[in-house]
């Protein structure tokens, strides 16, 4: 055998040996790899638990979890020599690799480039070749946590933006209390106030937002005040046509709706919403105020006079002071306590339901 051939053979053998070492990746034992995966999964689980605890806030979604590795992944690494076909097949079965795993592998793997011929099969643990052809069954697992986070943030947004019951302007946020406490002393007054609020709040918000768009969101307090005062004119006309002189019973509380925090609260925020959004939230808010006003008005009439819309319900008045301002404060305070308790229970139930539903899918 000529010396050159022998030399070539020795080089080839050396290359093969090097290739074998690269394939095995001896620095990463299956135990180490498994340990790192377990650590990453624990970390992701811990973050998800933290996020669950901080419910109600708009916490950023947790990082994507470490996907559960398939059982045969370690086999891929352990087999020192495999043909290209097998390696490719097993590469396809690899799950999408998380950044933690990638970092762990990159720190553990030797930086030496693999031999040219065996590169393809030996890059199986690397994320890049595994990414283009992930198994379709694994993808939902990767996106599963995102769905959980999305579901939680969706629930939070629902709780925040649902102004009829969950985030009622009167009972939860304490807006519009003047009219509810002092003027909603019976069902009729409450009905008049509700009609006025329904028209005034929505149209004020829409008109003010439209004008703010024109003025570049400047002079917000002035714009909101004058929008409310202008919207009060048609509101008064409609209410006067509906209820006639009974409106006088409301005294100063009907014109006071113009500066009611339930109507003007939006002027305190700097961001400018769209007109469509303003209309939707205006309706939502007004329905919430109407619901609270009607509830308080009917309850106060029932307690103060034993009647409901002037129809006798109870033989005698249970709490005559309910018709006064002080009684209004007490009744609204008690109702707010009950409202907040029920709301809290409902929100907790929904949060548990979301975590249970998506937590089960995870396994």
């Amino acid at each position: 055998m000529p010396p050159t051939n022998r030399k070539n053979r020795a080089v080839e053998r050396k290359k093969e040996e090097q290739g074998d070492k690269t394939v095995i990746i001896p620095q990463i034992t299956p135990e180490i790899l498994e340990q790192r995966r377990r650590d990453a999964a624990n970390e992701a689980r811990r973050r998800a638990a933290e996020q669950l605890q901080a419910a109600g806030r708009n916490a950023p979604p947790p990082p994507p979890p470490a996907p559960k590795p398939p059982a045969n992944t370690s086999k891929t690494i352990r087999i020192p020599r495999i043909n290209r076909k097998t390696a490719d097949t097993r590469t396809v079965q690899m799950p999408p690799v998380t950044p933690e795993q990638t970092a762990a592998r990159q720190t553990a793997a030797p930086p030496a480039p693999p031999p040219a011929q065996q590169t393809a099969p030996h890059t199986a643990p690397q994320p890049k070749p595994a990414a283009p052809a992930p198994a379709p069954a694994k993808k939902p697992e990767g996106s599963h946590r995102r769905t959980l986070a999305e579901a939680q943030s969706e629930l939070d947004a629902h709780v925040t933006h649902e102004h009829i019951a969950l985030n009622n302007p009167v009972m939860v946020r304490g807006l519009g209390l003047a009219a509810v406490v002092a003027a909603a002393t019976d069902g009729d007054n409450a009905l008049m106030l509700s009609v006025a609020v329904l028209m005034l709040l929505t149209f004020t918000r829409v008109l003010a937002v439209a004008v703010c768009h024109l003025t570049g969101n400047r002079f917000r307090p002035v714009i909101y005040c004058y929008a409310a005062a202008l919207c009060y004119i048609p509101t008064y006309l409609v209410a006067y046509n509906l209820f006639g002189n009974d409106l006088a019973v409301l005294g100063i509380y009907l014109p006071l709706l113009v500066v009611d925090p339930a109507v003007l609260k939006r002027m305190e925020f700097d961001e400018l919403e769209s007109v469509r959004h303003a209309f939707r939230l205006g309706i939502n808010n007004s329905l919430g105020v109407c619901l609270a006003t009607m509830l308080v008005g009917c309850l106060r009439e029932l307690l103060a006079a034993g009647t409901l819309f002037d129809r006798k319900i109870l033989a005698r008045a249970l709490l005559p002071v309910a018709g006064q301002v002080s009684g209004g404060f007490l009744i609204v305070g008690l109702l707010a306590a009950v409202w907040l308790a029920v709301r809290g229970m409902y929100v907790e139930y929904k949060k548990e339901e979301v975590s249970r539903l998506y937590g089960k899918r995870k396994r």
Partner: protein
């Protein structure tokens, strides 16, 4: 003789001014008797960044300055305007528009007056709170009460000043109560808004018991 009667008139005016102001602070307190501005008050006592004085000083000044303007609007502007309006447009529908203009004009004057405050941080804080103070329900409510009760200008100014001071007193009382209501002894469902409302309700009940009658709406 003329001097004596003039002195009596001045004394009567001062007595009237003081009595209306005291009534507005105590018996007809905007918070405890009429629940005006109670939503803002609850937000204010919850907000540690906003000082009570920095919010209430603009309110007092706006109420004081807007009272004569509102009196002028009620007694001079509306009688002139009423015949000009078409039949389908009642003058009552324009009241908020006119009184808000009075309050905002007064707020503009107050903005200039706040420039006299030597402390820059105080000046800035008061001016920041000025829009919220000018649109407080207690300001417009006081103007409407003065108009409904047909107060004279002196009575309007006294009542406006008293209402502003009464709001300040109410904020201090509710603030102290709110501090004590943070105790763990308060059941969790009552903590926050419900406890504050019940607390204000009990104080209001005390004033109602003291007066023996409800104030006119």
């Amino acid at each position: 003789m003329a001097n004596v009667s003039a002195e009596l008139t001045v004394a009567q005016a001062v007595a009237q001014f003081v009595s209306y102001a005291v009534v507005a602070v105590l018996a007809e307190n905007v918070i405890f008797s009429r629940a005006l501005g109670v939503s803002r008050l609850l937000k204010l006592v919850d907000d540690p960044r906003t000082s009570t004085w920095q919010y209430c000083l603009p309110i007092i000044l706006v109420q004081l300055l807007s009272a004569p303007l509102a009196w002028a609007a009620h007694n001079l502007f509306f009688p002139w305007l009423r015949p000009q309006l078409p039949d389908w447009l009642p003058i009552a529908s324009l009241r908020p528009l006119v009184y808000i203009t009075c309050a905002l004009f007064a707020a503009g004057v107050v903005w200039l007056l706040l420039g006299l405050i030597p402390s820059r941080s105080w000046r800035t804080a008061c001016r920041t709170q000025l829009p919220l103070a000018a649109t407080n329900s207690s300001v417009l409510g006081t103007l409407l009460i003065c108009a409904n009760q047909n107060y004279t200008m002196l009575q309007s100014v006294a009542f406006g000043l008293g209402s502003g001071v009464g709001y300040l007193v109410a904020v201090f009382i509710v603030d102290e109560g709110r501090r004590r209501l943070r105790s763990k002894d308060v059941p969790s469902i009552f903590q926050g808004l419900p406890a504050s409302l019940i607390y204000i309700g009990i104080l209001s009940l005390a004033i109602y018991g003291l007066l023996g009658h409800a104030v006119t709406m």
